[in-house]
Symmetry: C2
Subunit: 226 residues, 2 copies
DNA sequence: TTCATAGTTCGACCGTAGTCGAAGCATTTG
DNA sequence: CAAATGCTTCGACTACGGTCGAACTATGAA
C-alpha cells in the first residue's frame, strides 16, 4: 500500500480551503504575517495559527520571526511549482491578491531598520549585490564573496574592523514594505553609516525615514542600480 | 475569499491516501479496473467505487466501460504532471506498481476483439496510423484523414462501402493486455478481415488468438512498423 | 512599569467524509 | 434460462480534523 513518496500528505495539506487560500496568497512571492493570512483565508487567528503550524511542519512554508510579527513565505520554488500546476488543472486563470504595508511613501522608499537600510532602496542595493556576485547564499546565511569584499573596501568600509567583532557580518532581513529580503548584519549597518558619512542621505529625526539628497540619490543609483 | 481556480478542491481529491494510491498506480499510463484499483489502495470495492466516482467527477480520471469491466486512466497529461510535481515535493523517488492481464503469450501478441485486431500488434498498428497522420483525434472520437483514406484504399479496402453504413468508421477500443487504445470500428474490422484475405494471418478456432504466418508477420511489420 | 498588539495553546463542539455490509443492477458465461 | 462476475447504491457507523472562545506568552510602545 505504501507508495514511496507520500503525495497524499502534502496534497491533503493543500486540500483544505483555508490553507489553499493562504498558499495562493503567498504565490505573489511576498511574505505575509499570520494575521494577514488569517484574513486572507477568512478565519480567525487561532485557526490560522494551527494551519500555519501544519504547513510549516509539512515543509510547505518558511516562517521567519521578525520582532513581534511572524512572516510566512513559500518554502521554495518547488512548492510554488506544485501550486501553479494545481491552478492549471483547476482551470480558470489564477487570481492573486495582496495587501501590503506602510502608507507613507517616504517610508516605503528608504527607511532605517535596526540601523540598516530598508525599503525600496534597500532591496535595490541587495539585488545589486546579488547580481554582481558580491553575496553568496549558502546553506545557512549569507557570505561576502571576494569581489564583494573588495567592493566594500573601495566603498570606504573598514571590513577588517567588522569581521573582528563577533556579530554576524551579513544577514538577511525581511523587508516590511517590500516583503522581500534585504541586507542586514553589521555590514548592512556599516553601509548605511557610510552613506551618511558621504552625505548621500540623512535620517529624519522622530521617524525612521532616510532622506537622500539629490546628489546622493544619483550616486546611489550609479553605484547600486546595475 | 474565493481565489479563482479552486485548487483546494482537487488537492483534497488527491489528498486522501486511498485515492492517492490509486492515482499513483495509474501513473504507469495503463488503465486499471475498479477492482484492481481497490486492491492497489487496500480498500473494499464499494469504497473504491465511491472514490473513483469522485475522481471522475473531479475531472482527474477518464473512465471507460468495456464489457462488464470499467477501466480507469488519468484524464490527461496535466493530471500526471501535477502528480509528478507532488511526488517531487514529497521527496523520495516515486514507486510504481502495476499488475496486468492475460497470461497467454499468444493472446497478448495478437487476438480478436469484437472482430478487430487487438493485443500488441493492434497497438502497433494503431500507433503507426497515428504517427503517419492517418488518424486524427478530434474532440469526440477518431476520424480518418485524407492520407489515411488513400492508404486504406491502397490496402485494398472498400472505404466507400464502409462509410455507406451507419456504424462508426473509427473508434477507440481499450486493449485488454496492453491497457491502451487501439483502433476499433468498422474500419478496424475491415483491416483485420483484409489481413485474413491476404493470408497474413488466420484466427485460431475456439480461442481469440490471431496467428500470423511468417510472411504475414514480415508484411505486417513492413507496413505498420514505421 | 503598564498597556497594546501578535501569536500560541488548550479545550470543546460539530460536521464532513471515509469505511464497510448488504442489497441491487448490468453484463457475460454456461 | 440460471449462475457468476464486476460494479454501484444505500445506510449506518466512526473518527479525524476544522473551527472558535478563552486563557496564556512574547514583543514592542508609552
Amino acid at each position: 500500500m505504501k507508495d514511496g513518496p507520500d503525495i497524499a500528505r502534502i496534497a491533503a495539506l493543500i486540500g483544505d480551503p483555508a490553507r489553499a487560500n493562504m498558499l495562493t496568497a503567498l504565490m505573489s512571492g511576498k511574505a505575509l504575517t499570520a494575521t494577514e493570512l488569517s484574513q486572507e483565508a477568512g478565519i480567525t487567528l487561532q485557526t490560522a495559527s494551527s494551519h500555519l503550524a501544519k504547513l510549516g511542519a509539512g515543509g510547505l512554508l518558511m516562517p521567519r520571526k521578525q520582532g513581534r510579527h511572524k512572516y510566512f513565505s513559500l518554502a521554495n520554488d518547488e512548492v510554488a511549482h506544485v501550486l501553479e500546476a494545481l491552478m492549471g488543472l483547476a482551470a480558470g486563470s489564477g487570481h492573486l491578491r495582496t495587501r501590503t504595508g506602510p502608507r507613507d511613501e517616504e517610508l516605503r522608499k528608504a527607511r532605517v531598520c535596526y540601523n540598516h537600510l530598508a525599503g525600496h532602496m534597500g532591496i535595490q542595493m541587495y539585488d545589486s549585490f546579488l547580481r554582481q556576485g558580491f553575496l553568496d547564499i549558502g546553506t545557512e546565511g549569507l557570505t561576502l564573496t571576494k569581489t564583494g569584499a573588495s567592493f566594500v573596501r573601495d566603498f570606504g568600509i573598514d571590513l577588517d574592523g567588522l569581521t573582528a567583532k563577533k556579530s554576524p557580518l551579513c544577514r538577511e532581513c525581511l523587508d516590511w514594505s517590500e516583503r522581500r529580503s534585504h541586507l542586514a548584519g553589521s555590514l548592512g549597518r556599516a553601509l548605511l553609516a557610510q552613506m551618511e558619512n558621504l552625505s548621500w542621505a540623512k535620517r529624519i529625526p522622530e521617524s525612521r525615514i532616510v532622506r537622500f539628497t539629490k546628489a546622493g540619490q544619483t550616486e546611489f543609483d550609479a553605484t547600486f542600480q546595475r
